[in-house]
Amino acid sequence: MSIENFYYLNILGEIKSLYFPLGPNGNGLFCRYDIVTGDDWELISGTKTGITQCANGSRFSDEIVFNMPIECTFKSTNIYGWPQIIFSIYGKNLWGSEVNVGYARMHTCFITNEKRKTEPLIIRAPIIIPKATNFWSSLINMITDRNPELRDPKILADGTKTKNLFTFSNGGEVIVSLECIAKGTDKLDFDH
């Protein structure tokens, strides 16, 4: 029997900017996003992944603005595995080579409520940086000014796997504005 009852979720928004209160760890930052969903989700339009342009802040603690649009539509049968966006931020380090500056993870917003009819929801996702597990590599990383990179950033979506990954945050944030429209939720008795 084929499945007929789906609901659709349209995610629309933009990566507004990066904000580092203590200043960014590099310059020429750019950001890659991946939308990770559960098994019961299928992309039917738009792209799941994208990469922004390089951008610099004009002053030290300015927000680094991207204004990168995100747009995709999923169909799904299950609310489990709600789309999450994972940001991998890269930039040039002290020595001029492109290194990872941090990661951020956020859930896409739930269906829009009445209050925010006029302006989309702004989500600020904290930036985390993986930490080296041994002393020597952390020393080397300090000299070379590069952080360890995740082999597969998508594991951030699964909270259980990153348990032993000692991450720390430098207070930076990814600022994203998002809006979601869902269709067919009432058919499946998902009353929000």
């Binding site: 989700w41 049968t77 080579s97 070379t144």
Partner: protein, 1415 residues
């Protein structure tokens, strides 16, 4: 007037009270007037009417509608509460009604003269209290003056309270009960069925209350109940808006959540203290202190158990017993057995007592000595490094009493000893006497005299002295000492050592099976060299029991140093962890020898002048046991604190589940006396009481509800049973747990009816009843089974390795090496964007995972072919043609003389069913060159992937058609010459295949001959020395690659159980690890421990053992077994699970599986063939290697008279080990049943490899000694070969299928089948099987056919294949393209022959032919 009253009503509603009062007063007068207008007469009449109407209802009980009507009539007429104003309005109506119902009025008229009261009493029962009757009684009050009065009601009276829901069901009296109307023959309508009788009962109840029994019939039921029932449902309208009030859910009953049975095991390890007996920082004082401590422990233990006292008691008891049983002492009769036993016991106890007393004394003295020693040390060094103090207290005791007791004891013992001695003496004496009596023979006496002397009487003095000696040694017990050991902080008078202690700390790690699972906090060493660790580990074991539990103690000063390891025993299943669990002490000693130099300053106190070398040693006290999960959650000391804190912070409204509370209470975390937790504790206690009360069946509903506390279980969506019954959640759960059938399921539907369950799916796809043929069925089941087993094993391995995969998450987190450091520095200072960047060659190509990509391209570069068959018959035909037509080039130039003989060959590649076909351009000659690249797209998920890539060789023939002489048409037909099949799976796993392959040229190919190089040919063709081989076989050089390149996951079977003995397994592993280090590239693909179908691993040598051959043994058997094995079908599935299992690291089958399932992989065929060779006595080895045609597979190496041969088990071909066309490209190792030899030769190429395993510098054996080799085979040596099923049916089916298919392919044309030729072909087919088996030359068949069909242009060839299923045969035939003959006169012929071997191993022979009659 009516309008007036309406106005009043309206005003009433709207106006304020003051206004209303005025209005009322105004209206008073007018109202009184109105009332007066209603005559008394009228009222009387009305009553009468009402009564009469009522009567009528009673007289017509059977008529429902009538009763209803009447009821409404009564209601209409006699609405007593709306009488006054309404009646005025209704007067006119009433007249009409009266006139309408004239008959009714007649009755009424007859009673008109009577007074309403009398009629009342007559007609109706006297007790009726109808509202209307009152009206009739008191005219005055009704018409009375309207006065504004405040009427107050007692609310309690207004409301009706049912006394109980129990209605009076009993009949009124016994007489009435007995009357049954039915018995009188009257019809009684069944009472209407009501959904709820409660309303009826309420009514009954109310009637009883008001004593109005006239409506209750004799049975205690409502009279005329039917008439009261209204089918309609009325909806009440109400102006009042109800506000919703939240009522918290109330539990109906208290039922704690069911205990979830947890199969997971929890092992709890509590490390309480770490105690050092020896430490590098020990001073003499410490040693002394330790000694004192040790001795005190012993002393303390002894005093606690008081061994001496117990022994004394025992002794006295025994003595009493003896005195009781045997009161007469010192009788000369020898003691009875029992007495002897008792005496013996007393003696034993006595000696033991003496020994113990002695030991006690010794300990005490040494303790005191040591303490003295410690004190002197302390005095000498002027400070105390230890805080040990021994307090010795002398207890006041009565000396005389003690001495008296001692004396008593002494006396008793003396008596006993004397008695014993005497007993002994008597016994000996008796014996002696008997001896003398018995031995009358003097010689014997003399002889025995020497041995048995006459026993002497015991000497009492001697006994006394003996006893005195003992007693002198014994402690006098003059003084009772009370010794207390204490750690007194005040002892320290110095600080210099404490500083050092602060720097020394310890950490304990717990290691399970080589993986560190946890570590304690850093613990400082205290002054007593004791570390109170007090931390607990809880291990949750899900899969298997750990093999090794290890505690590792680290010493941390400036750097971390591993001190020692302690192996912990894994407790038995019944050893649960509880408060009573015994604390076990494990002693340890460090292997590091440390120089004891810390006390160099105090050299004067050293016992020996030399510095000692000591091991750090000590003991660790550990509690270990199994717990269940619930205990595991809160048991830690810290956690208890947290909970206590949280209880304190708990507000009243917070939600706590009942179960949690109960648990807290059980763990004594809730103190009923503590004001904070009092309520909670009370709640639980009360709950318990309720439980008890409930058991005693007393109703405590009220109490329960009072004691209710919000229970979080109430917030659950549904109960667990309900949840478990939902199919969808089962599915989701199964997917989460990596259950095989649901593992990769996407988009599980939300609605249950859309769920597609695996069992339904299975039923849909596989309908075994459709497969009629038993052979087909067997093969089908085999394939299905094997696929399933592969999937299960792969999934199992994946699950086992899932935890280990996570280790390598981070890039750039590796421990830096020199090369990485230098690279990093190079990167740092190198140019950022160099103009000419140096190409960095990565070892692994960038590839993606196979499940991410579905569409691939197979890129085939066709280089060249050699030894293509030449046309033999064509010369005459074309010469004739060329004579008639002036074709340029032919005939004119001699170099092209043979051009017609030489085929114009092209190569086409295709996957299944010709959906995608690519061909090269045609090239001329027997050794054509193409150098063309062909690309074929394919989807890995589609059915194509199960197939092979077939590379077919065709000859493009240009035929001239003569039409009306004037015009000439040319027709291009392609004739199939041969094929090569490469399984897609092989391309997937190898990514690129390059080499020269042997083409399968049909054994009979009509119209073509194998090329023969005559001197004449030499002129035209390329110089002969450039040709690689002049053998009869046709070769094609190809380069096949896959785009994009993918990573095929390997089956990592290391987690599976191994059936070998531990030391053998260890040996194999070590050997292989060593090999891995030396030859990393050669050891990736195979492992000496192979996975079996049972999911266990064993040594590869177990795969090989002689197995019985399905043929008689003679000189041809060798060829027959090769043929037999090559005919076993091979399963090609290109999905990842399959490919990882068919490789050398995959799953190996045993003989009964291969022959029973009739499905296998190439490596299993190799194993089987080697086993057969071993049975024949031919020295054979299994080669684990890689080949061009089937990827990783097994070949067989045999030795015949000092020459080695390699046999390809899937094609039955035998190659010399020096043959360069052997498809084997890599040889990793050789295996026979006794050993494994790894290839350690530098030469990679197979034809240059030395195959003599005795050469130790070419081959490295795994087992050096014979004993280690695991013997015993996995094969079923008693396997019985069965006769094949009847193949005639199959033969017919295949033939019919081919005819049908060719017909359908040529749907646009008529297909003629030449039956005569069909029959003739069979004779040839019958002989072919033997020919191919014994490699006979079959040139004569073609010749014979050529002779047979002189008058026809014939294309014909044989196809030979192993039988897998019908569709593969059909595909093969389609690939030949025989049906694409466009000639109108073409006739076809086909014949099928099935040669069966044992166990349904079949060889299919098909002869296909197309005949075109020559004009």
């Amino acid at each position: 007037m009516s309008s007036d009253s309406k106005v009043i009503k309206g005003k009433d509603k709207t106006k304020s009270k003051a206004q209303r009062k005025k209005n009322l007063q105004e209206n008073k007068k007018s109202e009184i007037k109105k009332v007066h207008k209603i005559s008394e007469k009228y009222l009387k009449e009305e009553l009468q009417v009402e009564n009469s109407l009522k009567e009528r209802i009673q007289t017509h009980p059977l008529d429902d509608d009538f009763a209803k009507k009447k009821q409404s009539e009564i209601d209409f007429f006699c609405d007593p509460f709306s009488t006054i104003p309404l009646n005025i309005e209704k007067t006119s109506d009433e007249n009409e009604n009266e006139s309408e119902r004239a008959d009714d009025m007649e009755e009424v008229d007859s009673h008109k003269s009577e007074a309403p009261r009398s009629s009342h009493s007559n007609e109706s029962s006297p007790n009726t209290h109808m509202a209307s009757t009152y009206i009739g009684q008191d005219h005055e009050s009704v018409v009375g003056k309207f006065e504004l009065t405040r009427i107050t009601y007692d609310e309690a009276k207004l409301l009706f309270y049912p006394k109980s829901l129990k209605f009076l069901h009993a009949p009124l009296n016994d007489e009435e009960k007995n009357i049954k109307v039915e018995d009188d023959g009257l019809f009684i309508r069944d009472p209407p069925l009501l959904e709820k009788n409660s309303n009826k009962f309420l009514l009954l109840d109310r009637l009883h209350e008001s004593n109005s029994t006239e409506l209750i019939d004799s049975n205690g039921d409502l009279r005329n109940f039917e008439s009261l029932v209204d089918e309609n449902v009325y909806r009440l309208s109400c102006d009042r808006k109800f506000k919703a009030i939240y009522v918290p859910p109330m539990p109906m009953h208290f039922e704690p959540l069911e205990k979830i049975i947890n199969e997971k095991k929890f092992l709890k390890i509590l490390i309480s203290t770490l105690n050092f007996d020896q430490h590098k920082m020990f001073t003499n004082e410490h040693y002394a202190a330790k000694m004192v401590e040790k001795l005190f422990d012993e002393y303390d233990r002894r005093t606690k158990f008081d061994i001496v006292e117990t022994l004394k008691n025992k002794l006295s008891n025994l003595r009493e017993l003896k005195a009781e049983r045997f009161p007469h002492k010192l009788s000369k009769t020898p003691p009875k057995n029992e007495e002897i036993l008792l005496n013996q016991q007393i003696k034993n106890v006595r000696t033991k007592l003496h020994a113990e007393e002695h030991y006690d004394q010794k300990i005490l003295t040494s303790l005191l000595e040591n303490w003295k020693n410690l004190k002197t040390i302390r005095n000498q060094q002027n400070f105390a490094a230890t805080n040990l103090t021994l307090k010795i207290q002398k207890l006041e005791t009565d000396l005389s009493e003690k001495q008296a007791e001692r004396q008593r004891q002494y006396d008793a013992e003396l008596n006993e000893m004397i008695a014993e001695e005497f007993d002994k003496y008597y016994a000996a004496k008796q014996k002696y006497k008997e001896m003398l009596k018995n031995s009358n023979d003097p010689d014997q006496i003399i002889h025995e005299e020497q041995t048995i002397r006459k026993p002497k009487k015991p000497d009492i003095d001697k006994i006394v002295t003996e006893l005195n000696e003992i007693y002198d040694k014994l402690p006098t017990n003059d003084v009772d000492l009370n010794i207390v050991l204490s750690h007194d902080e005040n002892q320290f008078k110095t600080k210099d050592r404490t500083r050092k202690f602060n720097r020394l700390s310890y950490r304990i790690e717990l290691e399970v099976d080589g993986e560190i699972v946890g570590s304690t906090k850093l613990c400082r060493l205290d002054e007593n060299f004791r570390i109170p660790v007090q931390s607990a580990f809880i291990l949750k074991l899900t899969k298997h029991l750990p093999e090794k539990l290890k505690l590792i103690i680290f010493e941390i000063k400036a750097t971390t140093k591993k001190l020692t390891e302690i192996l912990l025993p894994i407790p038995d299943d019944d050893e649960t962890y509880s408060e009573e669990t015994e604390i076990q002490h494990f002693t340890f000693s460090s292997k590091q020898v440390q120089r004891k130099n810390s006390n160099a300053r105090f050299s004067s106190f050293r016992r020996s002048s030399k510095s000692k070398l000591i091991n750090t040693s000590g003991s660790i006290s550990i509690k270990i046991g199994w717990t269940n999960s619930e205990e595991a959650n809160i048991d830690d000391l810290n956690e208890t604190k947290v909970i206590k804190k949280s209880i304190r912070n708990l507000s009243q409204n917070e939600i706590i589940s009942h179960g949690v509370l109960q648990k807290w209470f059980d763990q004594k975390l809730l103190n009923p006396l503590d004001p904070d937790t009092k309520n909670l504790a009370q709640f639980i206690i009360d709950g318990d009481e309720i439980g008890k009360l409930n058991e005693s069946k007393s109703t405590t509903t009220a109490k329960e509800s009072e004691l209710f506390r919000f229970n979080e279980d109430e917030l659950a969506f549904c109960t667990k049973e309900e949840f478990d019954s939902i199919e969808r959640f089962h599915l989701l759960k199964a997917r989460y747990n990596n259950d095989l059938s649901y593992k990769n399921k996407k988009l599980i539907p939300q609605l249950e009816r859309e769920l597609e369950l695996e069992r339904d799916k299975d039923a849909n796809i596989i309908d075994e009843s459709l497969i009629a043929d038993p052979i087909d069925l067997q093969r089908f089941r085999g394939r299905k089974y094997l696929r399933k087993v592969y999937e299960i094993i792969t999934n199992h391995c994946e699950n086992l390795n899932r935890d280990k995969m996570n280790t390598n998450i981070l890039i750039g987190d590796e421990f830096p090496t020199f090369s990485s450091l230098s690279l990093a520095f190079f990167e740092m200072f190198g140019p950022k964007r160099p103009l000419k960047p140096t190409r960095r060659i990565t070892s692994s190509r960038t590839s993606c995972k196979i499940n991410e990509v579905t569409n691939f391209n197979i890129v085939v570069t066709v280089v060249r072919a050699t030894n293509v068959p030449i046309r033999c018959n064509e010369t005459q035909v074309s010469s004739r043609k060329s004579s008639t037509l002036s074709t340029p080039g032919t005939g004119k130039f001699t170099p092209f003389k043979h051009s017609n003989i030489h085929p114009h060959v092209f190569v086409a590649i295709s996957l299944k069913d010709h959906h995608h076909t690519c061909r090269t351009s045609s090239a001329e000659g027997t050794n054509p060159m193409w150098n063309e690249q062909l690309t074929l797209p394919f989807n890995i998920n589609s059915d194509d992937s199960k197939r092979c890539l077939s590379i077919d060789l065709y000859d493009e023939v240009i035929e001239d058609l003569i039409d009306n002489v004037a015009e000439v048409y040319q027709r291009i037909t392609s004739k199939w010459l041969g094929t090569l099949k490469i399984p897609v799976i092989n391309i997937c796993t190898n990514q690129r295949i390059e080499g020269t392959f042997e083409l399968n040229i049909p054994s009979v190919l009509v119209g073509y001959t194998k090329p023969k190089f005559s001197p004449a040919d030499q002129q035209t063709s390329i110089a002969i020395e450039n040709l690689p081989d002049l053998s009869k076989k046709t070769y094609i050089s190809l380069f096949i690659s896959l785009e994009p390149s993918v990573e095929i996951p390997q089956l990592i079977s290391s987690g599976l159980e191994c059936i070998e003995v531990v030391h053998v397994e260890q040996h194999i592993k070590i050997w292989f690890e060593q090999l891995k280090l030396e030859f990393p590239s050669r050891t990736q693909k195979w492992n000496p421990l192979v996975t079996l179908l049972s999911g266990k691993r064993c040594c590869i040598t177990r795969l090989l053992s002689p197995l019985t051959v399905p043929f008689e043994k003679n000189e041809t058997t060798e060829q027959l077994i090769r043929r037999f094995v090559s005919l076993i079908p091979i399963q090609y599935d290109a999905n990842t699970t399959h490919s990882s299992c068919t490789g050398l690291n995959g799953v190996w089958l045993s003989n009964n599986h291969v022959l029973g399932l009739m499905t296998s992989s190439t490596k299993d065929l190799g194993v089987l063939l080697t086993c057969y060779y071993l049975e024949l006595g031919i020295p054979a080895w299994l080669i684990l290697g890689s080949s061009t045609t089937c990827g990783e597979s097994c070949f067989v190496l045999i030795r015949e008279t000092n020459e080695f041969f390699i046999i390809d088990p899937s094609s039955a071909r035998k190659y010399s080990s020096k043959d360069i066309y052997c498809p084997l490209t890599k040889c990793y190792c050789l295996v026979n049943q006794y050993n494994v030899w790894a290839n350690i030769q530098r030469e990679q190429r197979v034809f240059l490899t030395q195959f003599d395993v005795n050469r130790s510098f070419d081959w490295r054996p795994m087992f050096q000694k014979v004993i280690d080799i695991p013997n015993g085979t996995i094969h079923d040596s008693s396997f019985k070969y069965e006769r094949s099923f009847d193949t005639r049916d199959l033969q017919r089916t295949i033939q019919a299928k081919i005819i049908k298919k060719i017909n359908s392919w040529r749907s646009h044309r008529k297909t003629v089948w030449n039956r005569f030729v069909c029959e003739n072909l069979r004779a040839i087919l019958l002989r072919l099987e033997d020919d191919i088996c014994f490699e006979n030359d079959n040139e004569d068949h073609a010749e014979m056919l050529k002779m047979l069909f002189v008058n026809h242009k014939v294309i014909g060839y044989t196809i030979n294949c192993k039988y897998t299923n019908l569709s593969s045969i059909v595909t093969e035939i389609k690939n030949t393209g025989i049906h694409l003959n466009l000639d109108n006169k073409v006739e076809f012929a086909v014949n099928v022959y099935v040669k069966e071997y044992a166990n349904n191993v079949l060889s299919i022979w098909i002869f296909l032919m197309s005949l075109i009659p020559k004009v």
